[in-house]
Symmetry: C2
Amino acid sequence: MRRTVFFVSDGTGITAETIGHSVLTQFENVQFDTYRLPFVDDIDKARLATDRINRAYATSGLRPIVVNTVIDPDLSALLGESGALMLDVFAPFIGPLEAELGTPRSPRVNRAHGLTDFAEYEARINATNYALTHDDGIDVKYDDAEVILVGVSRVGKTPTCLYMALHYGVKAANYPLTEDDLEKIELPARLRPFRDRLYGLTIDATRLAQVREARRPGSRYAKLEQCRYELDLADKLFRREGLPVQNTTATSIEEMASKILSRLGIEKHLF
Amino acid sequence: MRRTVFFVSDGTGITAETIGHSVLTQFENVQFDTYRLPFVDDIDKARLATDRINRAYATSGLRPIVVNTVIDPDLSALLGESGALMLDVFAPFIGPLEAELGTPRSPRVNRAHGLTDFAEYEARINATNYALTHDDGIDVKYDDAEVILVGVSRVGKTPTCLYMALHYGVKAANYPLTEDDLEKIELPARLRPFRDRLYGLTIDATRLAQVREARRPGSRYAKLEQCRYELDLADKLFRREGLPVQNTTATSIEEMASKILSRLGIEKHLF
């Protein structure tokens, strides 16, 4: 079974797509063809969106599903004229919250993912630049780091740091373990002052070998035995130094970021 | 008015926080203190979460608000015993979708942000590595790029590329305009074959001067007149070459990514 889904928003569409995707993944037997219709914030754009939904309806003969975060009720009503199954993301929560808070919501274009708090946004861009410039352990000062991910080459430190920086505005640095660290089975002295910000990453050796092979085919670096050797010493080092450790093999960067921030007690909010 | 909000999830908490944040921003007169409680996927963790919600209730005397994406009904019921205002994110949508699709949902832990599709995940990590290695225009081959952002230094190309890569798995490259490009008011020949993937970024001169000043204080590079000069030529170049253009001054990276992908017709889905 295939169904067409539109994520329609007066903003970026990120909220509509996030909730829509989470709900749809709970229907494993259905294939969904999904389309984003962002920035539907006036009558003309709402008409264009409605036309597009109508065409999908006519083509498939099955009514499309619209996950809708458009706040303006007139624009929402126009979208509803398409005959699609309308799932209004905000409607179920506004009533209970208005009652609880004793105040009406301010109806306006959804700017949840817009640039509304400039200082906060700047901190986030600065965190991203920080992650980019604190990525290789060379000449890096860790004083400002909120998180320092430690692990062997290609274990997944960089994407996880970038994600924490871009999404949570967290200053996340990397420390790639060197041969010297592994042989001594200890952290370099310059990391010691920041022990409570350190988090070890590990990965299954076969997976690491695949990743390294894609990067440097046929190298000693990518050999399974080399990967096993490094990971084994890294795991010993993590245990000896008492670091929290996460295996990245079957864990997404979202899951890693959420676990790391939770464990280190960092309560910055998601953008 | 201040209220305490918990985003409670059996997974990362990203869905709960995304929808919760979008709904809460519609109540501008209320200050929300928000906390994430991710990976609440067994009775013990649900009890710990309930205790924490209870403590917040006791401390403030106002019942907390729980934005809940825990799928297991027993765990949700336990959280409900805290007496908090429970906002169940999925409940309002499951009924209508089950009726529409004629199939029940598969109740299980929410893995919307987990690593479920390995090939898709790998494509996304590859896109992120691509963005990192196609960032400075030097010795860069653009053949594989799906998007190429063009603009002067510090206009916002890098964070936008990283966001598109990390979130949408889009191979996004940068091309920083050189003095030579600006003086000739034309794109270098090696970008011409990829014209339909190019997107120009611009920014207000005063803002650019601030950003550059933070990076290289007192430099000619950061002077307002230098910023104006470069931006003026870049805008002329964009017009002459017929590129779509986005001003980044008051636009978040989420908004830029959404606009760029929409305009270039790239329908990759959000992770």
